[in-house]
Symmetry: C2
Subunit: 153 residues, 2 copies
Amino acid sequence: MEISTQEVEQRVSGFKEACRKAGVKLTHQRLEIFREMAQTVDHPDAESVYNSVRERVPTVSMDTVYRTLWMLNDLGLVKTLGQAHERTRFDANLKRHHHFVCVRCGLTRDFYSDELDELDVRAATRDVGQVVSTLVEVHGVCNECAQKEKKGL
Amino acid sequence: MEISTQEVEQRVSGFKEACRKAGVKLTHQRLEIFREMAQTVDHPDAESVYNSVRERVPTVSMDTVYRTLWMLNDLGLVKTLGQAHERTRFDANLKRHHHFVCVRCGLTRDFYSDELDELDVRAATRDVGQVVSTLVEVHGVCNECAQKEKKGL
DNA sequence: CTATTTGCAAATAATTTGCAGTGCG
DNA sequence: CGCACTGCAAATTATTTGCAAATAG
């Protein structure tokens, strides 16, 4: 369940390389924030990262954590869980369904599939817990955004 | 793509019934907020619901929309997209993976499955757009929460 | 050296809450 | 009629931003 020191150092090397390539400065704060992300299997929020990093870098500030996490996101080194910057959205469809989410505009459409409804993930998740329900989330480009793109952005 | 008037009215009837059963008052505002949710295939946020409902009920306020949406959520008539009340969370795992989310505590763990990696959802989503990637999101109860429950809450 | 980056404090955005009046059952 | 519900305005929470001082390359 833990991530090996070796794996962490490998990721850290990759980060240093990425900073050089992108021309961003490798500060103490950034390094420790990245290290924190690299060594956890959790999917922490900014505050959780802040609390952990503060133990090692007591003067770090919350806004540096946010700025660094978004920078890592821009560099493709972290992703957000769910859509970034999104407000709470509500879903009144009580039928069993799956979601298609447009990566450009955020449009979310339900779709149906007997095959996906029957997926059995119990074996793959046995170590984590008991399955209640399973949803497939497809990320893609919706037809409307594809149209716009064809017409030159 | 639209929801038939008949289907909407059926859902509205179910809502009235649910209100009676739960002993909550059926106000004009609640009815129109529910109707708005029942007749859209979007997954609107509170503001979007507010704007639509306001055309029919000009005096409705944003906080009534929020209160009603959460009430509908409590009654099981709507769900939220993603985890409710969550802050932005970050994920540093760049390997292909899927997510197990505990419905009790929100713990999110990655898991791996060649079978799930190979799912082909193109047929089911053809009408909506072009697939970029596919992620399976499993909702369940993590081992730790299952333990707690066994010991009596 | 000097352009970036940081920490602070203040701003913004989304959502929630207290309260006095309103209306459903 | 009474208590749950509403709208308002103010509070709260998460996140972002402007700016002067600090620092990586």
